[in-house]
């Protein structure tokens, strides 16, 4: 498996605050990697830079040997990088099937079709995906009427409908109950192992991080202070001192 995404000396500041400071991140194809760090460590900023939501001050983002540093969000998504936000971000006034169907319109280049009724398109793809995330019974419900856990699943389905090679998840279990959290993580592991989907996630729950991750990157004040397997991270003195010591 080769490197699918890498950043080279990536930096981003907000005023005098260095949110991301010369970050060199390597993500291998097919791996499930977590990025951890305390609040304000730069995890979400890193995701915003990778997805084109923010422009970096310096450094490069390389996706499969192609530089994507200054590409806008839709271009990055079209290349195969999908994202699930920290705060649930779905089309709240549309039904579940409409939410999931929309990315397929882009994937199958049907977006400029002005005359075919949309109900007849991509029905099977949408049904399969909705079933995979466990929302079959909510198919025709308006997204805003779903529970928080179901909305998180719906957002995951929207991201997966983009047919990504890399999935970025910003605290996917935030606000979920213990059982919802377990279901979500087993779903992510299934996607990683059966589909070979590369996953990069941020998470505050260390039990979750250490149980599902193959690799962990630790950010502290915008800088990577450790990178390695869960055991290596657990035994890293600096990580223990600045992060794990606080959270455990």
């Amino acid at each position: 498996m080769g490197i699918i995404l890498r950043t080279e000396s990536l930096s981003k500041s907000f005023g005098g605050l260095k949110a991301i400071d010369r970050v060199d991140l390597f993500v291998e194809e097919g791996e499930l990697r977590s990025v951890i760090g305390s609040n304000g460590a730069g995890k979400t900023t890193l995701f915003n830079l990778i997805t084109g939501y923010f422009r970096s001050d310096s450094g490069k983002i390389i996706w499969r040997d192609r530089e994507i540093t200054s590409l806008p969000v839709p271009e990055v998504t079209c290349l195969g990088i999908a994202r699930v936000f920290q705060r649930t971000n779905t089309f709240l006034n549309l039904t579940v099937w409409e939410n999931v169907m929309l990315p397929f319109l882009r994937v199958y280049k049907q977006g400029w079709n002005l005359l075919t009724p949309v109900r007849r398109l991509n029905q099977r793809d949408v049904e399969e995906l909705v079933e995979e995330v466990g929302l079959s019974e909510q198919f025709d419900r308006i997204a805003s009427t779903l529970s928080h856990g179901h909305q998180r699943r719906l957002e995951l389905a929207i991201a997966l409908a983009n047919r990504p090679a890399l999935l970025l998840l910003d605290e996917p279990t935030a606000g979920m109950s213990v059982s919802e959290c377990t279901e979500m993580m087993s779903l992510l592991m299934r996607l990683n192992q059966k589909r070979g989907l590369t996953i990069l996630l941020t998470e505050h729950d260390m039990k979750v991080v250490f149980s599902v991750s193959q690799k962990i990157t630790v950010l502290h004040f915008g800088r990577i202070i450790a990178d390695g397997s869960p055991d290596e991270i657990r035994n890293n003195e600096e990580v223990q001192r600045v992060y794990l010591g606080e959270s455990e």
């Binding site: 089309f91 409409e98 977006g111 079709n113």
Partner: protein, 273 residues
């Protein structure tokens, strides 16, 4: 009928794409004046003038939309208003061609449309055809993308959709149908006036959409029918019909914030959930 078509075209932008334009009357006025000038001043046949209206509607909305869709919310609204005022000023200043403040009257129309009945059936036919097309567009994949952009532009971008292109397309389609409505109005009234570009007319069309329900396809149809009926009815009994309309606006906003059809749609969806 003309109001129905114009309100439907406007609602494609406002209701289906979430773009509040304050300058949509520019296309109504351009359609009306293009037809009037070509038939009265250039003495061209009505069919050629109508074909020219389609071209003018498409090109003008593409040009204006190109600049406007780069901005969102209040900036977009005021930019569209500014462009509308620009078009108004140009039409006003070209007195020899447009009649300036006096407008154009006695616009010649094809014989078959000269009578009120002939014009009525022609307008009815065109309006139904346009309504059918707009309905197809709204229910198409393109229409679904417009709804998504209205609902959550950020998520739409993260679904790989280049939303500026779709917003521009929505603007152009709305302008195109808006100019057809303008030409039809000239055929009906055999005249064209500067008031067609006015903010008062714009506000009335916005009211039609709000009254019926901006998030429904048929809402503007219902809204336009009610507004036109109110206008005719109230005009018979009082000089202050505009004040009564104002009271109606306040009541609608308080009682039916999502419009009449929007209210029933919400009830239906609530019952289903």
């Amino acid at each position: 009928m003309v109001w129905v078509l114009f309100a439907l075209s406007y609602n494609l932008m406002v209701g289906h794409t979430g773009m509040l334009s304050l300058g949509h009357t520019a296309f109504f006025g351009l359609g009306a004046y293009t037809f009037a000038v070509l038939t009265r001043k250039a003495l061209l046949p009505g069919t050629i003038a109508l074909a020219a209206v389609l071209g003018v509607g498409f090109i003008s909305s593409l040009l204006i939309g190109f600049f406007c869709v780069r901005h969102r919310r209040i900036y977009f609204a005021f930019l569209t208003f500014a462009f509308c005022q620009m078009v108004y000023a140009i039409v006003y200043s070209m007195y020899d061609l447009t009649g300036g403040d006096d407008g154009l009257i006695s616009v010649p129309v094809p014989k078959i449309l000269a009578s009120t009945t002939g014009a009525y059936y022609f307008i009815l036919l065109i309006t139904i055809a346009c309504l059918f097309l707009l309905l197809r567009i709204t229910n198409s994949p393109f229409g679904s993308i417009l709804h998504a952009i209205r609902d959550n532009p950020e998520r739409a971008e993260f679904s790989g959709l280049r939303i500026r292109n779709f917003r521009l397309a929505s603007f152009v389609i709305a302008g195109f149908f808006g100019s057809i409505a303008g030409a039809l109005y000239t055929i009906l009234t055999k005249s064209a006036f500067l008031e067609y570009f006015g903010i008062e007319f714009m506000a009335l069309i916005l009211f039609c959409c709000l009254l019926g329900g901006v998030h429904t396809f048929y809402g503007p149809v219902v809204g336009a029918m009610i507004v036109v009926s109110l206008d005719k009815l109230l005009g018979k009994y009082t000089l202050y019909w505009a004040a009564v309309t104002g009271v109606c606006v306040i009541l609608i906003v308080i009682l039916f914030p999502k419009g009449i059809l929007g209210f029933f749609k919400e009830k239906r969806e609530g019952a289903r959930a």
